[in-house]
């Protein structure tokens, strides 16, 4: 029983962590949070089921199409919901514009796809076991993304440019860095990460439009607890969240598990609004 909790908890934790990283990547590029992170996660599962189960495409091609879709949606988010709002003086508008976009995606999926959860295809042709692919695929995806981002930020010029924009937007612009293009690329990257989360976790979450609000919330908890923009904090907090949730599930049942998670979240956040670790990139004074 313990193994089952650890496995499902870690797997779910990895999915939450990936959605949290989606939030963070968008935040680093623009200093705003976007409600579309959860919707992207949901679409990873839905589009995966659409391409592979319904349309019968091979798994690899389906994955590529899903990620491309994610990138496109990320770019749409930036152009439609974030860029127009950054120019205005009224800062809170980004909450509303990204909320509107996320709702549109969610409702469109509910109507066109299905209001009921649909099965997600088995990705690899391996027999079921205890350490099943539905558990280690999310873990693999999470490790790959974290590793990939480290590589990107540490060793590539564009990764450095992302860090520069995040740390000091003004100095980066003055230096001549293409701030707008970099922001769009960041959002595309975030889109890829978000849909990958949903795709890798498809078997666990199923292809269900209501995953969007669920992931919006549970994907944000690691951001809040781990510190804004802090990816490492997000992963640790995500794993803890997944394990806590599955444990509570086992002990008191699904419904009270949600109550437990939420209560702990609120209490921690009220005690330490900056998160347990604090923001990674301090803005220059």
């Amino acid at each position: 029983m313990v193994e089952s909790i650890v496995l499902s908890g870690t797997a779910m934790g990895c999915i939450y962590a990936l959605v949290a990283v989606t939030y963070n990547v968008m935040f680093s590029a623009s200093r705003v949070f976007s409600f579309t992170a959860g919707a992207l996660g949901m679409l990873g599962g839905v589009l995966g089921a659409l391409f592979i189960a319904r349309m019968g495409l091979p798994v690899a091609l389906g994955l590529v199409l899903v990620l491309v879709g994610g990138a496109l949606l990320g770019i749409v988010t930036e152009i439609v919901a974030v860029r127009p709002v950054l120019k205005s003086l009224d800062q809170h508008l980004y909450v509303l514009s990204t909320l509107a976009l996320a709702l549109m995606i969610q409702q469109f999926t509910a109507i066109q796809w299905s209001t009921e959860p649909q099965p997600f295809p088995r990705l690899l042709d391996i027999t079921r076991s205890e350490f099943d692919q539905q558990f280690w695929l999310p873990m693999l995806a999470c490790a790959a993304v974290i590793g990939g981002l480290e590589l990107l930020y540490r060793h590539t010029l564009i990764g450095h440019a992302f860090l520069a924009i995040a740390e000091d937007n003004y100095a980066a612009r003055a230096l001549g860095l293409p701030e707008r293009g970099l922001r769009m690329t960041s959002y595309a990257l975030a889109g890829v990460i978000g849909t990958l989360a949903g795709f890798a976790g498809g078997e666990m979450l199923l292809a269900f439009f209501a995953n969007a609000p669920m992931l919006t919330f549970y994907g944000f908890v690691p951001v809040a607890l781990g510190g804004m923009g802090n990816n490492r904090g997000a992963v640790v907090a995500g794993l803890l969240l997944g394990l806590f949730q599955q444990t509570a599930n086992f002990l008191v049942g699904g419904i009270f598990a949600s109550v437990a998670v939420f209560t702990v979240f609120i209490i921690v956040l009220l005690a330490r609004p900056e998160g347990l670790v604090g923001a990674a990139l301090q803005r220059r004074v």
Binding site: A81, V85, L96, L101, P213, A224, G253, F256, P273
Partner: protein
Amino acid sequence: MDTQATPEPTKLRASRANLPGSASTFGAALPFLALLAIGVAFPLFGGGYWGVIATRACVYWVLVSGLNLVVGFAGQIAIGWVALLTLGAYTTSVLAAGNVMPALPPYLALAIAAPVGAVFGLIVGLPALRLRTFYFAITTLGFATIVTQVALAWQSVTGGGVGVPGPVFPEPFASQWGFYYLCLGLAAVCTWMTANIAASRFGRALTAIRDAEVAAEASGIAKPVLLGTVFLFSGAVAAVAGGLFAALQSYITPDAFTLDLSVLFFIAILIGGRSSVLGPLLGTILLTVLPEFAAPLVAWSTFLYAVLLLVIVLAIPGGIAELLDFRNRRPLESDRAIVPQPLLVARLLDAAPAAGSLTLDQVGLSFGGVRAIDGLDLEIRAGQVHGLIGPNGSGKTTTLNVISGYYAPQRGAVRLNGAALPALARHLRARMRIARTFQTPRIVGSASVLQNVMIGGTIHGHGTFAESLLSLPRHWRDEAMLRDTAMLALATVGLERLAPVRADRLQHAELRFIEIARALMLRPAFLLLDEPAAGLSVEEITRLSTLLLAIARAGTGVLLVEHHPDLIFDVCHHVTVLNLGKMLAAGRPAEIRSHREVVNAYLGG
């Protein structure tokens, strides 16, 4: 120097019909009365099905009217308010059905749901005081989910997934139209109450918290108390709406309370426009009725609401209210001059008791390793203008921020008449009659000039929130007093002709003078000005000088942080020069002017 006879008091009471915020005007009430008339007459031309829709719109509006104060006026992104609807619905239904205790009459059940809703409204809303906007929005969503989950799980009380019957109201409200009139009546009462708050000092204070929080603090507005009150009210009203909703549905289950509903409430307010009651009312009616016009639309309704929200945010952030704001479409005169009337200052400040002295006593403050202020002694005397000058980074604005309570001194103290000021208690400064202006004017752009100035006098009102809610006499006395004082303040700074104009249409220089008018509402013993001359023309600076001298003559002690030589040398009685947080020189302007070191520090070198 302008020599104008002091205008007759009657002239200053500018025609009431043109002033915003005076709920007594028939013009403002007309749209509401028209809607009420349509509502009352509705059964004559609407059929049974439309009766249900109309009732539903009334019930939704009961909730939205309260939520409007939270979202529209206070600017808190409370997306998950359906939690309160759920709570109210279940409380009323369970008490009326007798699941837990002997069945109560529905009216009593509804009456009990209200305070329960109030308490939970406070619980859901209070995190707003600690958390960033997005974080708070997410927590309200979480609450909404939790409440629904609890309703599902607590089977013994709520019936779980099976649900519970809604309350049934006795005659004359048992029939469809009878119940409709009950809901219409409650909706009308809620409209009246929230419109009263909107036109009161509490409504203005909420918009100040939303759009100009530092100015609200400087005017003495205590955010936690005000927001707490609004959450209580909004929760109570939402719970009552829940009870009515349960009666309308006649049977409730947890999945009647979807996130879609929450989104509808929230979007209705934003489509309607912030700081408006009429806008969100029209928005609610629109969103309730719209999907009914075409069958396929019902399924797509939430999608359409979201599209509408996006369009509003990107194109018309002011919503329906902005579209209906005809008065502010009229063009303003282009060559407007600001002509203060210094002779009015004495009248404005006459009732003020004498100021004493405000001193800094060896104040020291460091940020990280840097000493922003290093052992500073300063005295601002009543009736004098004290200038504070120095290069960038010398600590001028930091000093002003320490006096007004933004930073606590790490060494030394700021003393008012000998007693040390409480550190970091920004909103208490107003009560001590210490007023300030800001480097960049902090104004509520969507409110009128008059409303902005009235915000300055918020703490001088005596009526409580409840008295404003119910339009009791003390509320009216407060409003009259604040309006008259604000008009006098505007006349003093020379902007009374612009009183009804939306503040964001004004030029920068005019906004600076409005800030001064707002500060004067406190009848300050001490007035702290942060670079008031920045962006002003030569003519305007001369007029500002005259005004400041008049303010000092009336007994106020003025601290003037400035760069501008005109203002410093013509207005100040006393000047302190700062450099690297320390006092470099102090004395009369003429002495400072010729002090070699000062000239070098000020110019650099």
